[in-house]
């Protein structure tokens, strides 16, 4: 059981106002007039069935997608005018392994660290520290192409936190990894959170979210349909024993396949 690491409310780290996204040619909005405030130091879970709008929301917050309407700020920085400062502030752990397979773990990390302006010994030391925590020290000079899924996930995470971001977005960071890798990843994320990083976490692993997140929002059809601390949501839902029960009662049991 992971220890929840809510470090007291200082202010809104992320403030989202009426944010909407409709993809070109789509009939419906992927995210529709969404309002959300995430406090500094939170581990905030974005939960929802496939196609609910979680990845779209994270992509907009990471400057990867242009919102159709609405706005947001991160640490009071506006996403339109202060994009460069905003990028320096955030990290993203994408769902895919965003790494160069032909490069070693160290080379990948050195390159992505350099893109945040980190250089020389400090960068080198940071890389080796993270590799050690993640149990990858002896694989530092091995090519990522030869890594297992779990190892790639861990390197993928390190590449996003070398610059010690204030906000870290995680899009399914533990998908497809074994229990050991998952524990190391979650443990390291909790450590980051303790040191002040706000985490915004999207996942289908509801047990993991229940234990890991200080607060969750269940999103469906681009809207927040319920939000709160996991324990409170479970307690308030009739016949619910865990977050999965809450999730199914709010989103239904129908399949959400779409193309």
């Amino acid at each position: 059981m992971h220890v929840k690491a809510h470090i007291g409310i200082i202010g809104y780290m992320i403030q989202i106002n009426q944010l909407s996204k409709k993809y070109k040619g789509a009939d419906t909005f992927s995210v529709f007039e969404l309002n959300l405030q995430i406090e500094e130091g939170e581990i905030f879970g974005l939960l929802g069935p496939n196609g609910a709008g979680k990845t779209t929301l994270i992509s907009m917050l990471c400057s990867l997608l242009k919102p159709t309407s609405g706005s947001f700020t991160i640490n009071d920085l506006n996403f339109r005018d202060q994009k460069k400062q905003l990028k320096q502030l955030i990290g993203i752990v994408p769902q895919e392994y965003a790494l160069y397979p032909a490069l070693t773990a160290y080379e990948n990390l050195y390159y992505f660290g350099s893109m945040y302006g980190l250089t020389g010994e400090p960068l080198k030391n940071t890389i080796y520290d993270h590799l050690k925590i993640m149990g990858l020290s002896r694989f530092a000079n091995k090519r990522v192409a030869n890594f297992s899924g779990g190892m790639k996930r861990r390197v993928n995470l390190i590449a996003s936190i070398l610059h010690n971001p204030k906000v870290l977005f995680l899009d399914e960071p533990t998908v497809g990894v074994d229990v050991q890798s998952k524990n190391v990843i979650i443990g390291h994320l909790e450590e980051l959170n303790r040191s002040g990083t706000t985490l915004v976490y999207s996942s289908h692993h509801l047990n993991e979210a229940e234990n890991f997140c200080t607060r969750v929002a269940i999103i469906d059809h681009g809207r927040v349909i319920c939000m709160g601390e996991p324990g409170v949501l479970i307690a308030n839902q009739k016949n619910a024993h865990n977050l999965e029960d809450v999730f199914l009662s709010k989103t239904g049991k129908a399949l959400r396949d779409h193309a």
Binding site: L64, K87, I90, A98, Y100, Y111, G117, T119, R143
Partner: protein, 421 residues
């Protein structure tokens, strides 16, 4: 600067990790230039190693056919093979066994002699030097030397053969006219009345460097042309590299990083420019050391190395600009690789790598001015063959640079618009 250098170092690592790819990048252009130079070498040689076998049907067996035959044999271009009938020769040519059959009609020599004899007699009688002839030249039928070409032969070959034979006949006719005049005027033809030697001759003046003439040869023509072709082929691996980044997700990560697209492209430009210059150096080394061992002329670089590298540098920039644009726009390798390869061939064709620009139709000549390969080729030929200095190639260098700036600029703007937030 640190981000730019880190990007360049990453590109360097990606390149050297793909040794198969990098070998192809360097070795294939070398094979290309050697192959093309070997093939085209005969065009430039005065003594040719290869003779084209042609068929010869002589129905005349007179002085004219002997003369044509002697000239064809003497030209060292053809290996003349005798055949008895026109039908046999025609069938063999139309089946593609031979490229050409020359059919000399019966009585060509005697009828030509008669016709000239009658004409000369007629002319002299006008001056009262000869009694009016009872010319029956009008009854002499028009003679026709028949040429059968293999349909696969190119127009240039046909034209060259036709012109050659036409010239031979003209010479024979002129000599015969002189001879008949001499015979008619001197009675027995022993007294030399005319100087039949041609008054007009040709002398080809070529550019010189010091006292040394710059003689065009297959190496001087092919090394720059195909080096340029190879340099532009860089757009294929470069665009694939960029499309791969999109598919790997690394490009998405870079978009979340505080680094500009221009910096990312700058890193690629630095490394791929080095690749172009290494490619170019290898081509020069091949021209200097390998081609002579294959019996081809040695590449003459005397004093031109700095200018040549300057042209290669700017041509490389233009090629990289195009690669960056293609890599930015293409979404899959299936889009970038075939398009890149085909487009380079089109640019090469337009640029005059295969067919010289002056031989192209008028509108294609205008279009060729739009091909960066044309600018590069002009600059290379100016340096290699025309002994030009920096000032002469500056316009081409500026065009190549402008092309790089425009294509890279479009890439950056396109990327911004695609991913504007």
């Amino acid at each position: 600067m640190h981000k730019l250098l880190a990007s360049a170092y990453k590109e360097f690592l990606l390149l050297i990790r793909d040794m198969g790819g990098i070998s192809i990048l360097f070795v294939m252009p070398l094979i290309l230039v050697v192959t093309i130079t070997l093939i085209q070498d005969s065009t430039f040689k005065s003594i040719k190693d290869v003779k084209i076998p042609i068929l010869w049907v002589d129905n005349d067996r007179g002085t004219v056919s002997e003369n044509i035959y002697a000239n064809l044999t003497k030209s060292n271009t053809f290996n003349v093979i005798h055949k008895d009938t026109e039908e046999e020769a025609r069938d063999l040519v139309f089946k593609g066994k031979y490229q050409l059959a020359v059919i000399i009609p019966a009585n060509l020599s005697s009828d030509l002699g008669k016709k000239i004899d009658d004409n000369v007699t007629g002319i002299l009688s006008q001056f009262g030097l000869e009694k009016g002839s009872t010319s029956d030249s009008a009854k002499i039928a028009q003679k026709e030397i028949r040429l059968y070409f293999d349909p696969a032969t190119q127009f240039a070959f046909r034209s060259s053969v036709k012109n050659g034979i036409d010239k031979m006949i003209s010479q024979i006719e002129s000599r015969t006219i002189y001879r008949v005049f001499q015979e008619q005027l001197s009675g027995d033809g022993t007294k030399i009345t005319f100087n039949a030697e041609g008054l007009i001759s040709f002398k080809e003046i070529v550019p010189t460097r010091g006292d040394k003439e710059i003689l065009p040869n297959s190496t001087q023509h092919n090394v720059p042309a195909w080096t340029l072709f190879a340099i532009f082929f860089i757009i294929v691996p470069l665009s694939i590299n960029m499309v791969k980044e999109k598919n790997q997700g690394t490009f998405v990560r870079l978009r979340t990083n505080p680094v500009s697209y221009a910096t990312v492209l700058g890193g690629k430009t630095l490394i791929y420019l080095c690749v172009c210059l290494i490619q170019f150096s290898l081509m020069l080394l091949v021209g200097l050391y390998l081609l002579p061992t294959l019996g081809l002329p040695q590449l003459d670089l005397s004093g031109r190395l700095p200018l040549l590298f300057l042209v290669a540098l700017f041509a490389g920039l233009a090629a990289i600009g195009l690669g960056l644009l293609l890599g930015t726009i293409a979404k899959t390798q299936e889009q970038s690789a075939p398009f890149g390869a085909t487009f380079v061939v089109i640019l090469a064709a337009m640029g005059g790598v295969w067919v010289p620009v002056f031989l192209m139709p008028r509108y294609m000549q205008y279009l060729s001015n739009l091909s960066p390969m044309n600018w590069g080729l002009k600059a290379f030929y100016d340096v290699f063959l025309r002994n030009a200095g920096f000032g002469a190639i500056l316009p081409e260098l500026l065009l190549l640079l402008l092309f790089f700036v425009i294509t890279t600029g479009i890439s950056i703007i396109y990327n911004e618009r695609q991913h504007a937030v």
